[in-house]
Amino acid sequence: MKKSDKGMTLIVKTITRLTVGLILLYGIYIVLHGHISPGGGFAGGVIIALSFIHLMLAFGKEFALKKLSQAAASLLENLGALMFLGIALAGLTGGYFFLNFFINKGKPFTLFSAGIIPLCNIAICLKVGAGLFAIFAALILFDSSQENK
């Protein structure tokens, strides 16, 4: 097994331990405030995926895959896609596809407002984040399986 598979040096590991939680938290903030401030599900999902990729680059692939395995990432991605489609189909109860079906949309500029838009943001975040992490993990695993032959 190569040395780089077990992660980088102690400096990188220490900095990663300090920053990776903040990056994950920032991604969640971007997703949840997507309807108030710039950002949204796509950008926030990529930031969340980047925090897991950060873990994988610094600590090696076994450590990161223990936190979020590839099967779990695929499951979350499918869940996000189905959730987005389900929200779209739920609009059919009120008449048409993608209807913003909440009667009371809440006060603007607060966290709980805008009807289905925060829910759509969360669905897209799950889809994008888990999907990109699954692609990255698959590429890393494929690369190392080629080297072992």
């Binding site: 971007i30 997507g34 309807h35 108030i36 401030s37 710039p38 950002g39 949204g40 796509f42 950008a43 990529v46 930031i47 995926a49 980047l50 990729i53 680059l57 695929s74 991605e77 896609a81 987005f84 489609l85 779209a88 596809f97 993608f98 913003n100 949309k105 809440g106 603007p108 500029f109 407002s113 805008a114 009807g115 289905i116 838009i117 759509c120 943001n121 897209i124 889809k127 994008v128 999907g131 990109l132 699954a134 692609i135 990255f136 698959a138 590429l139 890393i140 695993l141 494929f142 690369d143 399986s145 032959k149």
Partner: protein
Amino acid sequence: MELKLILLFMVFGAVIAVKIEDLLSSVIAVGAVGLGLSMAFLVLKAPDLAITQLVVEILCLIILIRATINKDLPLIKDGRWFFNTVATLLFIASFLMFAYFALLELPDFGKPIMRVAGSYIANGLAKTGAANIVASIILDFRGYDTLGEATVLFTAVIGVLAIIRKVGRIKK
């Protein structure tokens, strides 16, 4: 003015990315082009696009560096420079001629035709309750387009996972 400087920087970065011989340097030049594009979006007052462009660019750079750092691909540099130069000049000339006629028809830069978007901007906050107008358009008025985009990404992920999977592969 800033926009033109950034565009010039991006053109230089793209030329360097094509012309340089080292693969890792080429990837880094592509990253510089992406960061320049992110700054251009910020100058044009589109912070949503700037954030998305920045994070996607970083992710692509990580994947590209991880993919190219140990590979030593051979570079083809032999003959046929005359044919290549003539073909390039022909394509540039035809593109410029087409662009001259096509760009005359476009509205001025920064003055869009507000036939549909005008009603979105006027009624977006009242109809959806979302303070961010971009979110109210891509997830409410134009939710169908976002569904198509999500399907594209879903298909891409499924394709990558199916091509480079480990289970079910015939052992040599």
